[in-house]
Amino acid sequence: MHQNGKRCGGGRDELGFFHDSVAFMIRFENVGMRYGMGPEVLRDVSFHLAPGSFHFLTGPSGAGKTSLLKLMFLASRPSRGLITMFGRDIATLPHHELPAIRRRIGVVFQEFRLLDHLTTYENVALPLKIQGRTEDSYRDDVHELLHWVGLGERMKARPPTLSGGEKQRAAIARAVVGQPDLLLADEPTGNVDPEMGQRLLRLFVELNRLGTSVLIATHDHALVEAAGAPELMLHNGGLSVRG
């Protein structure tokens, strides 16, 4: 992985924004992954992402994009290889330090994974609530963000009554509300119209400008072209880089 333009930050970056002063935000070395006894979904994947970088992750359906993201947001372990996140080898990380790392990562799940019993507002505020912040300190921010993604009117609706695209935008809002150091978005524009897609892309770019590293798995070529950011391409379990 090499630098590309402004947004794809250099290897050694001294932005005071980051908690560790490490060279790489994420580093994969010869990572392999399989589900159970199945075939290897990922094979010898090696790359690194610098702090403040912006990348897309592409590949045909079933190529392993979601699986790769799962490794990054610590939802599953690799079957081999080394993964370093924020300068820490995640294989040796003690269990109680994982939540602190997860809080630095915002995730847009491909299946949204909103909590059906909470309102849209509560869903989006959840990461802040979990960090122990009081509602007074974040209420206005959350409202503003919800309006930005076009959910100002649906703030008190519960996810089952949202349209597909509304759910997706709520999921995006939840992922970015905490201004994470790393944003992982899995197909974040699959259910919204192109205009809304461009609007959401601006949100990601803005976030990136404030220091967040962004990685977006997508099939949407228009999005990739509009952003002009480098592309990690998965094919047959292997990773190659373009741009």
Partner: protein
């Protein structure tokens, strides 16, 4: 859209009533308020607590009845004085009574009069058949102090020596049988209690786990967005504490009502050992143990299950 601060937690009240309310009413938490599975969990716990409270109350009062009856029985002796050609009836009686009076550990000693004897025998001999000319033995009902009982062997010897025809009857024959009966009934009550308690624990455990499986997605999402295990466990525990307490108190109320109704229904005479029915007033507070135990089981199950789930999760 002008947002009023109406999503302030309505349970922010403080004080005891606030505490109680927050125990019973679901406070705004990140866990789902009682949905379909929540409601059915509450009802299952209520039903089991109802059964368990009934059994517990019954076992308590049977156990207590058996206890007091056993100690009454064990504390009672009889001295028989057979008519003897060597000594007249009254001297025999006086001699025995003075021995009893001198012996430490004896609470009371009372010769049964003609009335007592008649009451004792009439069912067997037929009304009007117990006449004064029946050469009955004299009986003395002796009540001993169970705390510091007298030396039985010594007492029996002294009594036999004090007057011809006098004999200490420790009711052994009856006692063995009746104590056995009392003990069996008490054991039975406790055995049934144990079975019901075990079943209640099993059902509450499994109902809790079923309830949790509906919340698995919630736990997983919280975990993935960086909630600490302790935070998740605390939320889940609080949720199941609410459900458990609510169910437990419903069950408790139902069983207390049942006992009260049975108590009022007038059948409150004791039948053999079984107090039929009604719970002695002072035993009601003990029933509180049942919902507490049920909530504890629900909470512990939830805690263990959540931690096990989280452990598998990385």
């Amino acid at each position: 859209m002008a947002e009023k601060p109406e999503n302030l937690d309505p349970m922010e009240r403080r004080g005891l009533s606030g505490l109680l309310a927050s125990l019973l009413v679901e406070t705004r938490s990140v866990m789902p308020a009682a949905g379909a599975t929540g409601v059915s969990l509450v009802l299952v716990i209520a039903a089991m607590c109802f059964l368990a409270s009934l059994t517990f109350g019954a076992a308590l009062s049977v156990g207590r009845a058996a206890d007091s009856w056993t100690s009454e029985l064990a504390g009672a002796l009889t001295v028989e004085i057979k008519p003897s050609p060597d000594m007249d009836k009254d001297s025999q009686l006086d001699a025995v009574m003075s021995v009893l009076a001198k012996t430490p550990g004896i609470k009371t000693a009372r010769p049964l009069d003609q009335e007592d004897m008649r009451a004792l025998l009439e069912p067997w001999l037929g009304q009007g058949n117990v006449t004064d000319d029946l050469p009955l033995p004299t009986l003395i009902a002796v009540e001993i102090d169970m705390q510091s009982p007298p030396d039985m062997a010594g007492l029996a010897f002294q009594i036999a020596a004090s007057a011809p025809g006098a004999l200490l009857d420790t009711h052994r024959q009856w006692q063995a049988q009746l104590l056995q009966a009392a003990r069996t009934v008490a054991w039975l009550a406790y055995g049934v209690l144990a079975i019901v308690a075990a079943t209640t624990i099993a059902i509450v455990t499994f109902a809790t786990r079923a309830g949790l499986s509906a919340n698995r997605e919630v736990v997983e999402v919280l975990h993935l967005i960086g909630a600490k295990d302790r935070f998740i466990a605390r939320e889940v525990q609080r949720h199941f504490l609410h459900l458990g307490l609510r169910g437990g108190l419903i069950g408790l109320a139902l069983s207390a009502l049942t006992f009260l109704a049975a108590g009022f229904s007038g059948q409150s005479e004791s039948l053999f050992l079984v107090p039929v029915w009604g719970l002695p007033a002072e035993l009601y507070p003990w029933l509180l143990l049942v919902p507490l135990a049920a909530s504890l089981v629900a909470v512990l199950t939830a805690r263990v299950t959540v931690f096990r789930t989280l452990e598998q999760m990385l």
